[in-house]
Each structure stands twice: as C-alpha cells, then as structure tokens.
Symmetry: C2
Subunit: 384 residues, 2 copies
C-alpha cells in the first residue's frame, strides 16, 4: 500500500499572541500552503485540531471558518478533539483520510488561543476533561503530576534534581527554536528554587499557557515529489486509551496508553525502539518525559531519569528528546502541540532544523491527552 | 478494495432525557455492542460525534469517558465535531478508520444533551458556529431559514403550504418511530396557524431541541458475517463545504455543499440519483428538505416542492424521504442526528424498520452543518 507522506509543515510563533483562534489557524495554514506552492482549493480534506475554541472564545464551527479563510472550498472539513492530544488525533485523522483513499491532499492545522484567559480559567477549562469526581474534588492535571512524581522518585530512587534536568535540557534546546515561547536557558538552581505548585513539582516543572498553531500537508507517497523534493513518511501510527479515572490505574508510573499506542505504531512501521533516532515527547510536566521514554521502550522501567542525568537525551546524545524545546519551553497550545511535535520530526528528517539539527533517519512523536487518558504515537522516516 | 460494512446500529429514545451526555452516549453504545454480541474491548477505534458538551454541560474529554464506560480500553478514541453535521462527520471518520486499515472494528456514537438549557441558550450555543459578523447582528440559523424560504417561494412559485406539507409528512412518519420525540401527526392547519418564528416560517417548520444518541458498528465487509447475517455497506461517502458567510453565496436556494458532497458519493458508489430508493435528509427547517432533494439530484432545481405536493416523497411514494420522521419529528440532538440518519437507512436496508419499512436496496443520508456550511452525503447498499 502507498504510504502517507508529509510534504509540508509550518508553525506560528508560540507564546502570547494577539487576535483569535481563527486567525492563528489561518496563519499556519497559509504558510504551509505557500511553502508547497499550492492554493487552498487544491485541498481535498482539511482537519482542524482544537480542544476548546467554544469554551475559550465562544466560537465554534472553526473548521468551516478556516476553510473559508484559506479559500479551500469545497474541501471537506472537520474538527478533531481529543483534549490535549487533539493534535496527535488530528495527525491520525489526516493520515486516515489519505490512507483510506478519501483524500489525495489533506491539510491539518492544530491550534489553540488561551492566554487571553487567566491561568485559573484556563486550568478550569482543561480540568473539565477529567472525571467529574476528580474535578469536583479539585484534582486537576498538575496535582496528578505532583502525586505521580512523588511516587516515581520514591519507587525508583530518583533524585529530585533529575526532574529539574528535564526542564534545563528542554529550555536549552528551545534557545535554538525561533518559534518557541521561551527562548532562554534556565539553570538547575532556578528550577529547584522556583515556587512549589504541586509538591514536589515546582513552577519550572510545568509547561506554560500558550497561543499558537502548526500545520502539516499530507498526500500519498507516490505523488509526494509533486510538492517537494524532501519529505517524510508516516510509517507507523497508533492510538490508545487508559482509564478515565486516574486512580484506577494499577501503577501510576506506567502510562498504558503510551505502551499500547506505540506497540501499534512500531508493528506497523516494522521498527523497534532502538531504531528511533530522535523523539518529541509530551513534557507537559517534567515527570511525563520520564514516563513516556520508558513506556515507549527507549529505557527500562524506572531508568528514564538516568538517561537524562547521563545526557543520553541531550541534543548531542544518543537519543535526542525534545530538540524543539518540548512543551516545556516551546509552549503548549493544546490543539497545536501534537501537530508541532510532528513538525519538529519533519524538520529533523528533512534536514531543515537549522541549529537544532541532529542526525536522524527515523523519528517518533508521542502526544498525550489528559493524564495519559489517550495517547497517539507517530513514527516517521525520511522519504526516499 | 474491501468495502466498509455497517454491522450494527442503535439509537436511544429521542426527546427530553434525564442524566447527562456521557450516560446518553453509553446507552446507545451499550445497545449497539449487545446487539452484535461483542464486548467493548473488542473495539479497535471508538469515535464520538458531539458538537458542544463543553458549552452545554461544562464537560470535555467525553470520548475518553465513554471508552471507559463501555470497557473499551485500550481502543483509540477521539471526538469529531462539525457543528450540526458532527454525526455525518463521525460516519466519515469511522468509515476512514476501517477503509484505511487502521481499525477492523469501529464503534461510532453520536449524541447531544440540550434540553436542560433554555431554547435561547441552546440557540446561542448553536449560533456560535456562524460568522461573528452574522452572529453579532443577531442572524441565527432560523433567520437564515426564513430568508431562504421567502426567496424560494418567490423564485419558484411555490405555495407556502408546500413547506407545511413537509412537516405534515414527516410527523406522519414519526408516528411509527418509537424513538421519535414527537410520535403524533399534525395537520396542515396546525402548521399554517402555528406562531411565526422567522417569517414566512412558523413554529412547526422547525425541528425541536432534543436529547439523544445513536450508534453504529463498522468493519470491513469481508468479516461482516462474523457479527450479523444482515448488514449494509457504505458504497459512497463524501463531504464538502460552502461559504462560512451565508450571504456570500451566489444563489441562496442552492446548497453547494449538498451538490459537491453527493457528487463524490455518487461517483464512489457508481450510482446516480435515480438509483436511490430511500433517503434521510436534514430537515432542521422544512425549507431544507426541498433544497437538499434538489441538490442531491432527486428533482430539478425549484421542483422539490412539487414532489412533496404530489406525494412522491411519502412513505408509499416513489422516493420516500425521512421515513424516520426526520429531524422535524424525530428530534435533532446535534451530534446524534447524522448517525441516526444512517441508523434509519440501515434499518430500511436490512428489512428491520418495522411499520416504517419500505422497499429499498439503496439508501442515502444527507447531514448538514450550519446553514449548509458543511455537508456529508452517505450512500448505502444492502449487504450481499
């Protein structure tokens, strides 16, 4: 079967942005179309990844609005929502649209506009994805992260500093990403002395509230050369859920959705964890980078923290993780994040990552919804 | 290529329901699984069609919640939103999941919980899908319907009564649908004397505010017999957009999204309008049944009203339309409606529609988002 190729990718500046979601989505979409030198009405399908434009801005129907703004009529459009993994779910939908033969040219745009709301308001919207029993008792995602981090440090004899080193590493990577919200390094002391949010996690263990969008252009590999000389293929993609009620999980330090979704993706790609050269993980909280790097099989259970301590996941390490800066320094506009992860892998595989460039023929993106409630893993390879 | 089969379908009672969206979704989902004698964890993908659980109930992440309720872990889940055509968009996503090879067993559940909000509040949520300029000037979907109806009656010399006869016909059909919100006939005088909402349209030209859900089970046709003896196949499906700003359309009496989406579906199925034996159209407003029946090629432009006058679209007519009662009498829980349309065609094609049964080997469902902003057309045939 013809594989699905990514023949274009773009992302906007992440951070605090003016305007509203519709303009942000159109910005990334226009850039992606311009890069491929095509017009909106060349598109057959157009998907928008977005969690909550209705809740954040009182505006729905945004997929249709963006199709209009990009002159993409009569392209079919829909919005894909899977909370904070809406971006990855959009990648999966866009992949399916091409792999099923429904579309020969699909644009995916993921985005979110959040910073016009207070942190409390934004946290409240995000917390509405949790189980109502958790929600009513004030258990938000940051508090799950704190509980899980405490358990992990205890269970695997990991030093608190190892978590902080995730933030230090990802901020260092973000310096070379012109689209990142924070393009500045932070040192270990700064992280360790930042205010406590959910003990033992501190302010710098958390990603920020962010506006931004990112876009991808997909088509069958057989026609990829019509759009670009350098492309990437999605050679494996899978999604999986874990319990909606987090406390029902047997071991809070194991992300079953990561294990299950990556098993599907590895099998489809015919690859194993050892074959991956570069990865973008969903470091919404520093602890999540450990859990994902273990769930994906990069490191043994309870050993992810050592890899960070030993520099294995540094940009010049054996397996660079979050060369983009990750959600931690790049920012986390919910619907955009999963798309921006794939954007980064695309840049790495096509040799266009500039100062962030690493040597890679194969890459992986892992996008997490909720507290691992749903996970999409995407494996990509450089096109031939 | 293996076609995509529908091997199970269910719907809940439509109307004013207790509980919340999650329970409604689980109810249809459980019924669909039970009918096929399978368990939740047999599912590979699970899609939820829903427009606005966040806006209506302050609850997001519902795809994940329902996967949990159906014991469907670790099935991949996502929510599909395309405003009032979310159901049809979900059918398209579910079809793609099977046609792409990503899933060999997909459950789609569409639903909405609305009646706990006032009509004004519900209308306001729905109006948030329109262009902000329209929205701010108070132009909601019912007012578009009024303007379009007036134009249609003028342009094609159609009597006002012809619109009312759509309501009379669909209410008559709804009497035999035990799931319909209104299982009672209305006569022409009742419609013609009901209060004016958006001149010339009156209360009985509009569908109600409704709670409810519906579900479909999809798999490759090659394994359909594992689940049921009687199944239907989706032989053609297409989606298309029209302008987000309604007044930019050249002719308000032409639904371009209907024309474009059905062209894709007809071509894929290798069928023409003459081949369709039964159809479910999106009669959110009576005028829309005329426009769709013309856009789909059943009748010439401006002739749809005559077909209703002459009984062509009655249950015992040449081309029965809305045997289910349509949105008009069955009700219109936004995310459920497109799924419930396909449910009705499935029942007709598998000979299980009871007192509503018509003779049909081929059926069509047309689901409309916004005021024709996005349309999904699905063509189905009885399985072999």
């Amino acid at each position: 079967m013809d594989r699905v190729a990514i023949v274009g990718a773009s992302m906007t500046q992440f951070g605090q942005r003016e305007g509203w979601i519709r303009e942000l989505l159109a910005e990334a979409g226009q850039d992606c179309l311009a890069n491929a030198e095509i017009d909106g009405d060349d598109l057959e399908h157009l998907y928008v990844s977005n969690m909550a434009s209705g809740e954040f801005e009182g505006q729905t129907g945004i997929a249709n609005a963006v199709a209009h703004d990009l002159d993409a009529l009569p392209a079919y459009t829909a919005r894909i929502d899977q909370t904070s993994s809406s971006g990855g779910a959009g990648v999966y939908s866009a992949w399916q649209s091409v792999a099923s033969g429904a579309s020969d040219l699909t644009l995916l745009i993921g985005g979110e506009k959040m910073t016009h709301r207070s942190t409390a308001e934004a946290t409240d919207v995000i917390a509405s994805l949790t189980h109502p029993a958790e929600y009513k008792h004030g258990v938000t995602l940051p508090s799950f992260a704190g509980l899980t981090a405490r358990r992990y440090l205890h269970e695997y004899d990991a030093p608190r500093e190892s978590l902080a080193k995730v933030a230090v590493k990802n901020h260092k990577n973000g310096v070379d990403n012109p689209h990142a919200q924070f393009q500045k390094e932070v040192d270990l002391d700064t992280v360790m002395e930042s205010p406590i949010v959910a003990d033992p996690l501190r302010l710098y263990d958390f990603c920020p509230i962010t506006d931004g969008s990112a876009a991808l252009l997909l088509c069958p590999e057989s026609v990829a050369s019509e759009y670009t000389d350098d492309y990437a293929v999605i050679s494996g993609i899978g999604g999986a859920t874990d319990t909606h009620v987090v406390h029902e999980r047997e071991d809070p330090t194991v992300m079953n959705g990561v294990v299950d979704s990556s098993a599907i993706a590895y099998e489809q790609a015919g690859l194993s964890p050892d074959d991956i050269d570069v990865a973008e993980l969903h470091d919404m909280f520093t602890i999540l980078e450990f859990l994902q790097s273990e769930g994906l099989g990069f490191f043994e259970q309870g050993e992810g923290w050592k890899a960070v301590e030993e520099g294995v996941t540094d940009r010049d390490g054996e397996l660079p993780i979050n060369t983009s800066g990750g959600l931690k320094s790049k920012g986390h506009p919910l619907g955009a994040s999963g798309v921006a992860q794939v954007y980064e892998i695309y840049k790495q595989l096509t040799g266009t990552a500039g100062p962030r460039q690493v040597e890679a023929e194969t890459g992986l993106a892992c996008n997490v919804g909720g507290f691992g409630n749903c996970v999409i893993t995407t494996i990509m390879e450089a096109g031939q």
